[in-house]
Amino acid sequence: MATGFFTDTTICIGCKACEVACKQWNELPSDGFEFSGDSYDNTGSLSGTTWRHVSFVEQLSPEPAGAEDRWLMMSDVCKHCTHAGCMEACPTGAIIRNEFNNVFVQPDICNGCGYCVVSCPFGVVDLIAKVNEPRHADYNDATLNQEREHTSQTALQGSGGVAAKCTLCYDRQKIGMVPACAKACPTESIQFGEIEELRERASKRVEALQERGLPAYLYGAGNEGSVGDLNAFFLLIDKPEAYNLPAEPVLPSTRQPAGYVSAALTAALLTLLGLAVFKGAK
């Protein structure tokens, strides 16, 4: 059985309950308190400590009758790709596909090398400090500052960090519970379920919206490029780039043959050049 998320952005109300529910269930710390000035989005992007992230896309003019006015909201999450870049890059086997067909990082096996971070075409995976204690129980300014230091990227490089991202609430699924974000979503913008059934439901929804004249389509359900279908896919009404999603996500390994060839060619050329130089020196 494969499970996943269908996120219908047309009924997202931007309440960010998913972000909070995710952090609460997974005992993730806040990422700090910086004002971004980027619409109502102050958490910026998915990270090792933000596994659901609601982006706000303002497409408005200040004219009172702005006919084209839109404020798009979209709850982003790990895509749990069919061909997962992070999994391919992982040298320790820490990233696996679990019994629900979700891409899962085993924190106890991860050595914090960070190869997965650069191999994710969506920029989802991130490193965080290895912390076993739940960190929000006695929150105060002191623990907060400590945490900020812990999570700052420079402190993490090569210091026993661990890759972290959405687990699709593996622990909840194992006991038959719906993942925290989907459970908290008040409008069912985030739907959890068996992937085949979700796709079916999603295509019906697309048809219905298209009948109403909305340019709705599914992102990640039509075999997008080399990453294959996404187990967390989205219903969008603008081009993927508007939501900060790659139009054609590319699995880094697909670039490997070309990389090897160019490396071999470079090596050959350099050898020839070296020979030529040495010859000349004689």
Binding site: K16, E19, Q24, F33, E34, S36, S39, Y40, P62
Partner: protein, 825 residues
């Protein structure tokens, strides 16, 4: 969203383009503070284009009632009603209070009957007066007052008319953007008039929904946290109204006709619940134990009195006035004049630590502050009453942290300690405390040991019981005025119909109105005045909108809900104007609580500031009133003091509209202590349009300082096209600035509070402050800091500026006061 998916059209009218606007079918921008002009415009359009629901209006509203010839409308007096004498009548003790003499706002009577014209043609009938009153609210006028594009306004009018009538209904939902105004009550009145004209009251899918600011605001009002109410919307006795005896009180507050003929039953039962066996017929059921109000003791006047030294002690339970009230610095300075303050909260609030703030040397503050840690909602049993009047019980999910206790524990133990302190006293003045029924010992041993009271027992007392047997009453119709019943809050009667049942706990869902889920007062009725969902003959207005109807075979009202009508009173029952109570209503008068059984398009004496709503500009406005000579609500309360300065009308120093609101991420000012919420909105900010930002050289994300006559705050600027550029009048551009109010000095998301910008001024009906329609200026950069050493806060206000409430409290002099009639009940 579900309604929208099922085909409902969602319209959002708001000064800002919000998340709600993004999901709505139609967004209409509006200048803050002009909703009465907008709704008045819709009313005018509905009347001029004959789009009202004529049968409903004729049968169920007071449209046909005829006014006396003494009544003069704003059309006659350029923005004023009759009754405002020249010079205006003011109170002896309160020179700033101007009041209407409301005796001319009455219907003409013939004996006990109100004169009426069923053809609605009489020039002094409510319908014609309404038509004339709103005739100047044309679409052109709406556009130039509100700044809402005319085409969008007309689209709203058409949508409302198309979605009302026999087959369809329209609902209004509002929040504090409608209430927190100097004309707040009249905002809701305007919507009520429109909904009555469209036939959308008492019918499924209709109505006007108040979206409350907090989870249990409805319950707090029901069981009377307001100074002028007793539980169940019974007025507090007043020293100013000749009601020092039970008979005097009942005379003032028992209506001859309509449901309020039952007032004595509810009052006597309440006194029996309060004072138990000590309350007897002979001693007026201890009526004289009740405190008598002697003026306006609501929050705003009390704050001034506190600042002037007339208040010694202050309990603050789950509130944070130092951060979330208007003129917050006045509140903080007022607390310096207290002898003691008790703050009960889950977090240390700005109020509990008001003494430790910018510009103040803590060593100079003499107030003794007690901070009592409070359990959160998950850590205690209790009941929430939501906006559709539904009681839902919640069980304690985990033990309170550390030393924190429930609020109920605090009050119960305080009561017990007071009783112990007064034990043995023979002094008459101590009897109210000694005779107070105060036995809520918990059923559970462990909880009892901790001193927690039993919420169940409290609810059973509120529900009511027979004093002889102790058995629960099954509903308020069983309550009596002879002392044989007791009930702590008559409107909740029926929630605990026996000792083993608490309907607030019931969780039977199901389709339709789900009568098995929770308990909605009164009598588990989900839709009030639902007799109006059937036509005068008792048949549903349409199959599609079928709800409650008359079943002629069984001779009863029946349907999806609990009928809000005497169950066997046939639709053709004639009214008997000489009878009392609801016998005076016919079988086709749905509005049982009203004297005449009709929906009030026109109110008589219930409101202080007019029988029909009028568009006035807010006290601080960027424009003259385009409709009348009268600029602002003539009877609003204001306090002209140096610590409460006003921007004034059309002041070029404050050229921008300022509005405040909360944001989704926070509930009031307390949730900024939760890091997961604080990271979502980490700093106090303002929302401004790109044109103003460019003009003022404020870049997105930069600091900006907003100023009013009251003070300055610094916030981060969010420059956005969601704030619309409006044109009003003959094309003058209006910039609006929005500031969320949720911030303060403490918590993970810090920032100045919008409360430091707003002077106190007050609606005359229910003492609500103005916090939504104001003016301000803005500049780039941060504000200067205040230094306690060089610029200490001046606590003293000259004697002549002090408010009369404070003086009255200090010197015990009470004279005349606006509250000669109960208002907000």
């Amino acid at each position: 969203m579900q309604a929208k998916e099922r085909g409902s059209k969602i319209i959002h009218v708001d000064p800002r383009y919000t998340r709600t606007s993004a999901l709505a079918d139609l967004y209409v921008p509006i200048r803050s503070g002009t909703d009465i002009a907008f709704l008045g415009g819709v009313i005018n359009w509905v009347l001029q284009n004959e789009r009202y629901f004529r049968e409903y209006v004729c049968a169920y509203t007071n449209a046909s009632h005829i006014l006396t010839d003494k009544f003069q409308d704003t059309e006659d007096l350029d923005g004023l009603f009759s009754g405002l004498d020249e010079p205006p009548r003011v109170s002896d003790s309160l020179p700033s209070v101007v009041m209407y003499d409301r005796r001319t706002w009455k219907f003409e009577r013939e004996g006990n009957s109100i004169k009426s014209d069923p053809t609605l043609q009489h020039p002094r009938c409510v319908f014609q007066i309404l038509k004339r009153h709103f005739s100047r609210y044309t679409p052109e006028m709406v556009e130039s007052i509100c700044g809402a594009p005319r085409e969008k306004f007309l689209e709203v009018c058409r949508a409302l008319a198309e979605n009302s009538g026999r087959e369809r209904t329209t609902a209004f939902a509002y929040a504090l953007g409608w209430t927190q105004h100097n004309t707040g009550v009249q905002y809701i009145r305007t919507a009520a008039i429109l909904q009555l004209l469209l036939g959308n009251v008492g019918r499924p899918g209709g109505g006007i929904m108040a979206l409350r600011g907090h989870a249990n605001i409805q319950g707090a009002t029901d069981i009377a946290t307001l100074y002028d109410l007793l539980p169940g919307y019974l007025p507090m006795p007043s020293a100013l109204r000749h009601e020092q005896t039970l008979a005097g009180y009942l005379k003032n507050h028992t209506k001859r006709t309509g449901w309020w003929v039952n007032t004595p039953k509810y009052v006597v039962s309440l006194l029996k619940a309060f004072y138990g066996d000590a309350a007897t017929k002979e001693n007026d059921f201890c009526f004289d134990y009740l405190p008598q109000i002697s003026g306006d003791h609501s929050e705003l006047p009390t704050m001034f009195a506190m600042k002037d030294g007339a208040v010694k002690g202050y309990f603050v339970i789950g509130q944070n006035p130092a951060s979330s009230v208007q003129n917050a610095e006045l509140a903080r300075a007022a607390m310096e004049r207290l002898e003691w303050m008790v703050s009960i909260d889950s977090f240390e609030t700005e109020t509990a630590s008001f003494w430790n703030r910018e510009g103040v040397d803590p060593s100079t503050v003499g107030t003794e502050v007690f901070f009592i840690p409070a359990a959160t909602v998950l850590e205690k049993d209790g009941v929430m009453v939501n906006t559709n009047r539904m009681l839902q019980f919640h069980d304690k999910a985990l033990e309170p942290q550390g030393a924190s206790k429930s609020d109920a524990w605090f009050l119960y133990q305080l009561g017990k300690k007071l009783k112990a302190l007064y034990a043995g006293s023979a002094d008459a003045k101590d009897r109210p405390i000694l005779n107070m029924t105060w036995d809520y010992e918990h059923e559970d041993d462990r909880e009892r040991e901790r001193g927690e009271p039993s919420v169940n027992k409290i609810m059973q007392e509120i529900n009511g019981y027979y004093t002889a047997t102790g058995d629960q009453v099954k509903g308020f119709t069983e309550l009596a005025d002879d002392g044989s019943t007791a009930a702590g809050g008559w409107i909740y009667s029926g929630v605990c119909p026996d000792k083993h049942t608490n309907l607030a706990r019931s969780r039977t869902g199901g389709s339709g109105v789900s009568l098995g889920w929770g308990f909605a007062w009164p009598a588990n009725r989900r839709l009030m005045y639902n007799r109006a969902s059937a036509d005068p003959d008792g048949n549903p207005w349409s199959e599609r909108k079928k709800y409650i109807w008359w079943d002629a075979t069984s001779g009863r009202w029946t349907g999806a809900d609990v009928p809000d009508f005497p169950i066997e009173k046939a639709p053709n029952t004639p009214a008997d104007p000489n009878a009392g109570g609801i016998e005076a209503h016919s079988g086709a008068d749905p509005f049982m609580m009203q004297i005449d059984g009709r929906g009030a398009l026109f109110v008589n004496e219930e409101l202080q500031d007019g029988p029909i709503p009028v568009h006035y500009e807010p006290l601080a406005s960027v424009t003259p009133n385009l409709l009348y000579k009268q600029q602002h609500n003539p009877v609003l309360r204001q306090w002209k003091r140096r610590d409460n300065p006003y921007n004034g009308a059309v002041n070029p120093e404050y050229p921008y509209v300022l509005t405040t609101y909360r944001i989704t991420e926070y509930s009031g000012g307390m949730t900024k202590h939760i890091p997961w919420l604080a990271e979502l909105q980490p700093a106090a900010f303002c929302e401004i349009d790109p044109v103003l930002a460019a003009e003022k050289r404020i870049r997105n994300g930069d600091w900006a300082t907003i100023s009013t006559a009251v003070g300055e705050i610094e916030v981060r600027a969010l420059v956005t096209g969601r704030i619309k550029l409006l044109s009003i009048g003959s094309g003058e551009r209006v910039h609006q600035i929005g500031v969320p109010y949720n911030f303060g000095r403490l918590g993970f998301a810090h920032g100045d509070t919008s409360g430091d910008l707003i002077p106190l001024s007050m609606d005359p009906n229910c003492s609500i402050h103005e916090a939504k329609a104001l003016t301000c200026n803005i500049r780039a950069g941060r504000r200067p800091r205040r230094d306690a050493a060089t610029d200490p806060i001046d606590l003293d206000v000259p004697e002549k500026e002090r408010t009369s409430e404070g003086k009255a409290m200090l010197h015990g002099t009470y004279h005349d006061f606006p509250h000669e009639n109960p208002t907000c009940g």
